[in-house]
Symmetry: C2
């Protein structure tokens, strides 16, 4: 089992990389190949668009790589997602892609293109408290499809996204077909008025009308709203689901934290 | 000329209201009717959804009102915009609606419904430095269609929006037909990575593909990006226009400031 790590968004820390390399070595059930691109820096990003794209396409085309694990989020994978899918080599279709947060742009577009993707912890998560458990969950899923890694209430096709990222890809070429899928959303460091605005966008978008349900992951590190916001994130999601005639399916065990569980997307026809 | 003021988003300050009342009194060319709803408070909003909607529908249905001037932005007009357009009375079609920022949700939906809308300074802007000039520009437009109030480079159909608000209404029932229009965008207090993400969303949305051009208003009060962002807002807009094959039309004299000029939307068929 060979797992390649690339950073389509922001730069991976050397500390996180070394910790995860040690974890994988100790497990002994996989080879981890952290691409040197992960440590490049170009302003906000882990290298220029061209550098990030080249590294991603490298590992996608490499037939010896069984899984591509995104190093971390931040911002920027949308700038290369469409180009990554051009002239897709066969080898790209024979592997799993795993990440979340900003990597949601890739999950969406790759899923739409028929690739096998899953939403779950990334390499950089190892530096969180209890972060070893988070990366272990992803490794258990990548290496042996361990069902203990999965979000516990999955029943039928499901997709998971950072809510703000999802809002930002509606209507673009990256948008997948949501019909019949349960949509799990989480977010971090967004004011509740922004959560409300993103939920308006999601629930009132024509392309989201026929999801099976929306479930709410954790909305963490919420900055203070000024003036104070009446109610909580669950009330927001319930309200917009209710207005749009979408079933609210309850909570989801995903979020920007060490407890984040894996959500494999359904295999879509290309 | 009778101008009604309502607050579909956040609460108007009494200080701003009194200043604008005095300005209108001194001009002597209009009656200003500031609805008592403007001073209600319900958490983040100027009253509950029901209270804000009732006030808005009141003034829309009032045949003695020639113009509806939105008090201020903030957040929340998207929560009542669709309901405001239900069973539209004839009187609603015979007046002008003016605002910007969060009021962009209303501008979009009202324009789509065939109403006469314009993007321009609001009542609360009077408390900015040079704010009297800003509200005077809106009053000059509402009262006598003074062309000196207009954005100076308008040539053909144009629409103006806060970029984040515009991104949040793409694909919803509020989204108007952008084909052939020049799109002017501005924003405030958003990190450059967020501006980039919103521009990705705008430029890569299928419904925006046939705009005549995108022009960039002011992007102000930008919080520091960490890590530092290479380039400025104009480089971002040029880049996404270029990728999407949309003409970049240069700068636009709009923004969250006292220099904000008026952009009347084209009259659309309902």
């Amino acid at each position: 089992m060979r797992i390649a790590v690339v950073a389509p968004s922001c730069r991976l820390s050397e500390v996180a990389a070394a910790k995860v390399e040690a974890i994988v070595m100790a497990r002994g059930d996989a080879d981890l190949a952290i691409h040197s691109q992960c440590f490049l820096s170009d302003g906000h990003f882990a290298g220029s668009n061209a550098q990030r794209l080249a590294a991603l396409r490298d590992v996608m085309a490499d037939a010896t790589v069984n899984a591509v694990w995104f190093a971390r989020g931040g911002y920027g994978s949308n700038r290369i997602a469409e180009a990554a899918l051009a002239d897709l080599p066969d080898a790209a279709r024979e592997k799993t892609y795993l990440g979340y947060s900003d990597a949601g742009f890739l999950l969406a577009g790759f899923h739409k293109a028929g690739l096998c993707v899953a939403h779950g912890p990334m390499v950089q998560d190892v530096i969180r408290a209890e972060g070893e458990a988070a990366v272990g969950r992803s490794l258990d899923w990548l290496v042996r499809r361990d069902e203990a890694s999965l979000e516990p209430d999955l029943a039928g096709p499901a997709m998971a996204f950072n809510l703000t990222v999802l809002s930002s890809l509606l209507g673009t070429p990256l948008e997948p077909d949501f019909n019949g899928a349960e949509l799990l959303v989480e977010d971090v460091a967004e004011h509740l008025y922004r959560i409300d605005r993103s939920m308006f966008h999601l629930a009132r978008s024509a392309s989201v009308a026929r999801v099976r349900a929306i479930r709410l992951g954790r909305i963490s590190d919420v900055p203070d709203n000024d003036p104070v916001w009446n109610g909580d994130a669950e009330a927001i999601v319930r309200d917009w689901c209710n207005r749009a005639g979408i079933r609210f399916g309850g909570s989801a065990d995903i979020g920007h934290d060490a407890c984040n569980r894996v959500v494999p997307f359904p295999l879509a026809a290309s």
